[in-house]
């Protein structure tokens, strides 16, 4: 409990310190990192806890963003009001899609969700009368809080940090609840979970829908921050990026989701010094991280901490923390 409160304080402290010290451009990147963090904390429910490989996460982010964008620009709703149907509608859509789709496992589920994301992009780009096609939806109103417009990058970052913190607390509470444990039980052994009275289908659909709810919140934040959305903002490459963030940060951990989101948002920027070849290096660095840190940054940190605490049992500690990852499905 104390360590979690400490981590939360450290997150808010570092976030606030950065918000007061870095350049406008870095503030913008921090905002994008925070929005990604919301999406990745959500993906952690589906993949980190329940073990569902989703390559369609960006589509749910896009669905939430489009609902908010259309309700605010066409119907003149306030963004705060429009966020409710955007988030709930996306969660419902994910539950309806998940019901038949989540019978699939492993790379079958990965390809099905990938197909879903590609299909979302095709519809968003071609259903011009509703979505505006590839021109997207522009002039989305910004957010205001207690009469103050959150139009600067810094003010928006404060909101985004608060949203990340609240959603991280909720996710942490859920992880420790009966429902979180049920998700992990399904991930580790479906048959054993079912034998113990866990309703496997319900748990999977719930994890998937919850991950979509977080993605939709990220989509709403994205729409309100950038004030313009187009199909390319939510193509399948973004889904793969979210999954990469989670794996680089450390799957199954909320801190890992946040660290991974921040790192992969800034890594390409740090590599820009290499000139034109920076994206080629980015790919190689990702591969190196996967090879040398298979459990991500948090997996590495937790493994080291466990080794220091209990030198004799360090190995079992470290492996049991990520038991779900060791087996190849």
């Amino acid at each position: 409990m104390a360590s979690r409160a400490l981590a939360l304080l450290a997150f808010l402290g570092v976030g606030f310190a950065l918000s007061m010290s870095v350049s406008e451009y870095s503030l913008r990147l921090l905002n994008l990192a925070a929005i990604s963090a919301v999406a990745v904390i959500g993906l952690n429910f589906a993949f980190g806890y329940a073990g569902l490989i989703s390559l369609g996460h960006a589509a749910f982010m896009g669905l939430g963003a489009y609902i908010l964008a259309l309700l605010t620009t066409r119907a003149g709703w306030s963004p705060w009001l429009a966020a409710a149907p955007a988030v709930l509608g996306t969660g419902l859509a994910a539950a309806l899609i998940g019901l038949p789709l989540l019978r699939l496992k492993g790379h079958y589920l990965a390809l099905a969700t990938l197909g879903l994301n590609v299909s979302f992009g095709i519809v968003a780009a071609n259903w011009i009368e509703v979505t505006g096609g590839t021109n997207g939806v522009a002039r989305i109103p910004g957010l205001a809080l207690f009469g103050h417009a959150l139009d600067g990058e810094r003010a928006f970052l404060w909101l985004a940090l608060a949203v990340v913190a609240i959603l991280a607390i909720l996710a942490s509470a859920l992880q420790r609840s009966r429902h979180g444990r049920a998700m992990m039980a399904v991930r580790d052994d479906e048959t054993a979970a079912a034998m113990s009275g866990v309703n496997v289908t319900a748990v999977k659909v719930a994890a998937f829908a919850l991950s979509a709810v977080y993605a939709a919140i990220a989509g709403c934040l994205f729409a309100a921050h950038v004030r313009f959305i187009s199909p390319d903002d939510f193509n399948f490459a973004h889904s793969i990026t979210f999954l990469s963030m989670l794996i680089v940060g450390g799957e199954g951990t909320i801190a890992g989701a946040i660290i991974g989101a921040a790192l992969l948002t800034f890594l390409p920027e740090w590599l820009r010094g290499l000139g034109e070849s920076y994206l080629a290096f980015f790919g190689l660095m990702m591969l190196a991280i996967l090879i040398f840190m298979p459990r991500g940054i948090m997996g590495l940190a937790l493994g080291l901490a466990a080794r220091r605490r209990r030198p004799a049992q360090s190995h079992t500690q470290a492996t049991s923390a990520v038991a779900g990852k060791a087996v190849r499905p």
Partner: protein
């Protein structure tokens, strides 16, 4: 009628390319269990190997094609060493992300080497047209279909009539048993990567004159090859062929008879439908952990 013949030819030619890309993907998947998300970039690399030998080096066609395919074989071996070996014991998601990451590297390396301006890869049948039952069709498209049929025939002979092919199928069936029988498993796995890369290279060389050679061509091809693989049956070679032709025909016929905007939705819609109703595809066998 003339229109239909023309469209069918183009659809079959495009389907041939998807089928070869899917075959390359399936050869690697059956042997190594790796879901290679860089499969589309393999085809892109094949097209640009052709750009390098035929356009940049100006080699005559037979030598240029042979040179490009030798380069693809080396590329497959390199991929085996640098990507497959370090990731072979990793969970499936790590492999997916790893192959995507290396795909980003390949795409940007091609961008740095060849620039963003698209190339037009020449065909041995440049500009040649032939009349077929009243329809004018391109000779290149027909040649692509014929060449694909030949490649599939050669592959069948390799897998069923040679020692190395039988050994490859043994490895695909059961690595442990194959090793106990004294097969050199690692060498055979490396050969699977090489064969997969060469198949992708042939697809790339044939696609070059049909589309423009563009460094961003990899992703759309990968998505179509995945759809073809799922529809035909994951891990099945006849399935990859049938799926490839289905996706190619659906794209060309769908664009002209249904909607050019939504043409790609047909392939992915059918793919998702297959996953829901018949996850083993047309030719696959129902296997418990794959459902």
């Amino acid at each position: 009628m003339a229109d239909l013949i023309q469209l069918m030819t183009n659809g079959l030619a495009l389907g041939s390319v998807y089928a070869l890309a899917a075959i390359g993907f399936v050869i690697v998947y059956s042997a190594t269990g790796v879901v290679n998300f860089a499969a589309g970039q393999f085809v892109m690399v094949g097209t640009f190997a052709g750009v390098a030998t035929l356009l940049n080096a100006g080699l005559p066609m037979p030598i240029g094609y042979a040179g490009a395919l030798v380069a693809m074989a080396l590329f497959g071996a390199l991929f085996y060493l640098v990507v497959y070996l370090p990731l072979r014991a990793s969970p499936i998601v790590t492999v997916i992300i790893g192959t995507v990451a290396i795909g980003i590297t390949l795409q940007n390396a091609a961008l740095l080497t060849f620039g963003s301006w698209p190339f037009r890869l020449p065909s041995p049948f440049e500009g040649m047209m032939i009349e077929l039952a009243g329809a004018v069709v391109s000779v290149h498209a027909l040649a692509v279909v014929v060449a694909t049929a030949v490649m599939i025939g050669l592959l069948w002979l390799l897998l069923h009539r040679t020692v190395i092919g039988v050994a490859m199928r043994a490895v695909a069936q059961d690595v442990k048993a194959a090793r106990l029988m004294g097969l050199r498993v690692q060498g055979l796995l490396a050969f699977s990567w090489i064969l997969g890369a060469v198949m992708a290279g042939v697809a790339g060389l044939m696609l070059g004159p049909m589309w423009f050679a563009d460094v961003n061509m990899g992703d759309p091809i990968a998505l179509k090859a995945f759809a073809a693989t799922v529809i035909g049956g994951f891990g099945s070679l006849p399935g990859a062929i049938a799926g490839g032709f289905f996706v190619g025909l659906a794209e060309v016929l769908g664009a002209s008879y249904i909607s050019s905007a939504y043409k790609d939705l047909i392939a992915f819609g059918v793919m998702i439908l297959f996953l829901l109703v018949r996850p083993q595809g047309i030719f696959g066998e129902p296997i418990q952990d794959r459902g």
